[in-house]
């Protein structure tokens, strides 16, 4: 049961989506050939959820589909598919099917937000953030 194990399990689940390059920690840079890129980031946590020491983790997945400018409408439509509840490239379906082994009891993608242009390492990208709750 570890945060590193949870991050790794989510990364592996995201890599099951064809074409996605996933990171279990924030990378120093994003190679131009590595899109879509999905980055797993712990956001918040709650200790002592139960007497036997359960911890609740709130994680973020930052999905970046490409650099701005240069985005096409097709790229935005592709992002819609990643945001769908189900389907071959659904982030929700992939993450909720993650193999958590002993690291957590359950995982749920609760929503998405901040769709649009976001900054990373001084560059602008088109992307979206997913909120993920993990119970250990």
């Amino acid at each position: 049961m570890s945060l590193a194990g949870i991050r790794d399990a989510i990364k592996v689940a995201l890599e099951n989506i064809s074409g996605v390059t996933a990171y279990d920690t924030v990378p120093e840079s994003l190679p131009s050939s590595g899109f879509p890129a999905a980055i797993v980031v712990p956001a918040r946590g709650t200790y002592h959820q139960t007497f036997d020491g359960q911890i609740g983790h709130q994680m973020e997945i930052v999905l970046l589909v490409g650099q701005v400018p240069g985005l096409s409408r097709a790229a935005q439509e592709a992002l819609d598919l990643y945001m769908a509840e189900s389907g071959d490239v659904s982030v929700v379906a992939a993450v909720e099917a993650a193999t958590l082994t002993t690291h957590a009891d359950d995982i749920q993608v609760t929503g998405y937000r901040d769709y649009g242009i976001m900054e990373f390492n001084g560059q602008s990208y088109m992307g979206v953030k997913f909120d993920v709750t993990v119970w250990t």
């Binding site: 200790y47 002592h48 959820q49 139960t50 007497f51 036997d52 359960q54 009891d105 359950d106 119970w135």
Partner: protein, 122 residues
């Protein structure tokens, strides 16, 4: 005298921890028997009658639920310190299950104590 956090509380049934539990409560009460008479000068008087105790505990599902109607050896720990606990025999009188699309499945139990409740001494 010291305040303590509830974070190291615990509920055990037959000496085994009920995992996933995150809170418990116990209520003790005693009957007040009306002993008023003509000699009470118009002011009601009472004497203590029988006492009883009951309570509840709840938390996340972690395995099969406890069986209602069974009498159990129940220990309600405020902490992991030996004398910060309440214990006695009790009957599980109720189980409520809650399933929410945005959360974990939770179990809530109620119990009725039978016999003496040994209370915390520290």
């Amino acid at each position: 005298m010291a305040r303590i956090s509830g974070k190291l509380g615990e509920v055990t049934v037959a000496a085994a921890e009920v995992t996933g539990i995150k809170s418990w409560s116990v209520d003790q009460k005693v009957e007040a028997l009306d002993s008023s008479g003509f000699d009470s000068d118009g002011v009601k008087a009472f004497i203590a009658g029988c006492s009883e105790w009951s309570g509840s505990f709840e938390g996340n599902k972690n395995g099969v639920p406890l069986t209602i109607g069974s009498e159990i050896a129940l220990v309600l720990k405020e902490s992991q310190t030996a004398n910060q606990q309440f214990n006695g025999q009790a009957i599980i009188t109720g189980l409520s299950v809650k399933t929410d699309i945005a959360g974990l499945v939770t179990y809530s139990y109620t119990f009725q104590g039978t016999g003496t409740l040994t209370i915390a001494t520290a």
